[in-house]
Amino acid sequence: MAVCVASRTDLSPTCFHLTLATPEPVVAEPGQFGMVSCGEGLDPLLRRAFSLAGVVAKGSGSEVELLVKEVGKGTALLRRAVPGTELRLLAPLGRGFTLEGGAPAALVAGGIGLPPVLFAAEAMAALGVRFDLFLGATTAAELLEVERCARACEAAGGTLVVTTDDGTRGERGLVVAALERRLAAGHRYARVLACGPTPMLAALTLLARERGVPTEVSLEEPMACGVGVCLGCVVELGDGRFVSACREGPVFPVERLAARWWA
């Protein structure tokens, strides 16, 4: 559908917040994603996949929130989009996180992996599901939406744990190490929901398996179509099959994934 840029705000030196106004209501679950066109021409050719950071009803349609990191041609064009710019959006797509279930949960976000985790945090807070949120970034300036994360944690009766690789804010070091320290100190989590860079998710998966904590991760794979026909975004499962992240994911329980993925 044709959508309109409603707002665009810088969040960090590399990341920005984008709100898209849709003419029809979008009903999405945290962890689902959308495919967004970045411009009118043939280059960039393909839409870009973004996990949704939130969706709110607005008039007869919705406002879809994205958090975007500028990494190439398409995201650079989006960064320059002004309110009123028309884009095309295909959403919601894929399968999201399991929100209800055992509590407390640990929500873990690394860098630009925050959007689906933020969406899940706000939805779980509204559902009254308890969680702690672990929010990591390379440096203080790259921490995104800290205030919103803090509000969601407060509403859920949980704690926000902030980490930066360089120690410029919160605990120094990797976000998975912060979770590991909590577990070693006796904190117990019924499950983990996470999104972030692949090395972070691999480390988290290893930790979760050692501790026997059920974990769902949102994976990022290059996608051409987002609707299951290009077979570009496949993920290898434990039984050796390749399945499309856009259809069977992007959120997967780690038990389904091939050992190669975290080992």
Partner: protein, 306 residues
């Protein structure tokens, strides 16, 4: 003025000349909400092998300027699953189904065709000859006119249904392979498949896709595809052609028809917009209305060259 959209590829009548290309439309039931198969002139299945295939490691795709490179590795559910799981509904919907066939040995092509011969509702076969022939040292069937004629002849003997051969643009002698396919008994030729290409990640100093080489598709290849359609049409004017390569708009489709194609396939455009084939069809109709073309068939081979 209402435009007559019907066309035909050889003996196969089509309600309109726009098809969904192999490998971009799944098994025909994946994009129902955007582009139902019964509204297309025809749909071409993902390439089917006798048994399921996992395909290549990732990354499998990378975007390039006005195009993309893929090396999916022919991942597919296998012909039997297609016949059991997709074909009954495609038949019930009245879709015109073209089965794209491939194998690593000639016998595998015949296995796929034999399985489909037991089913109603397969309108034609399209041979993917860009697959390496493992019994002939890994050279693609489509690169060697002798092998291609033999393969086409064996498939010809295996079915009375229309048989199309999808030509590789990477063959050293395009017209020679076109002649070979026709000599082997092909009813029509689809051209072109993707162009062998690569992309490099300069930071990682590695190929951008795991397979190193892949097939380039999208608008970047359209001028090459047009030239190849025209070249084969000129050399073999009586042979029906299906044009494919970077078609994004109705005007693009008109260009392929003028170059000599009787119908077109839309591929990579579906990745950009899953409703692309129907949009392109509507634009084609609009072009005809605007330019006083009463029937799409009038456009076929209608190029004027001085």
């Amino acid at each position: 003025m209402s435009v007559r959209l019907d066309s035909a590829v050889g003996g196969l009548a089509l309600a309109n000349p726009v098809m969904a290309a192999s490998g971009t439309y799944g098994y025909g039931l994946d994009l129902l909400e955007f582009c139902p198969p019964e509204r297309l002139g025809a749909m071409v299945s993902k390439g089917l092998s006798p048994r399921p295939r996992r395909g290549n490691r990732t990354p499998r795709i990378v975007e390039t300027a006005a195009g993309m490179i893929n090396a999916i590795g022919l991942q597919n559910i296998g012909v039997d699953a297609f016949c059991r799981e997709a074909l009954p509904e495609l038949r019930a919907r009245g879709a015109v189904v073209v089965v794209n066939v491939f194998g690593e040995r000639m016998e595998e092509y015949l296995e796929v065709i034999a399985r489909c011969e037991r089913e109603e509702g397969v309108a034609a076969y399209e041979l993917n000859v860009s697959c390496p022939n493992v019994t002939a040292g890994g050279m693609e069937f489509g690169h060697d006119p002798v092998q291609l004629e033999r393969l086409t002849g064996m498939c010809r003997a295996a079915t009375p249904r229309p048989l199309w051969v999808k030509l590789s643009p990477n063959a050293p002698d395009l017209v020679g392979t076109a002649r070979a396919a026709v000599a082997g008994g092909a009813d029509a030729l689809t051209l072109i498949n993707t162009l062998r290409a690569m992309a490099i990640d300069p930071v990682a100093r590695r190929p951008a896709i795991a397979n190193t080489f892949g097939g380039l598709s999208g608008p970047a290849i359209k001028p090459i595809a047009l030239r190849m359609v025209y070249e084969v049409h000129r050399a073999l004017p009586g042979v029906p052609l299906v044009g494919i390569g970077g078609i994004e708009t109705g005007r693009d489709a008109v260009e392929f028809l003028l170059a000599g194609a009787s119908a077109v396939q839309v591929g990579t455009a579906i990745f950009r917009d899953p409703g692309a084939p129907l949009r392109i069809l509507a634009e084609l109709e609009g072009f005809c209305e605007e330019h006083g073309v009463a029937a799409v068939r009038e456009l076929v081979g209608g190029l004027t060259c001085r």
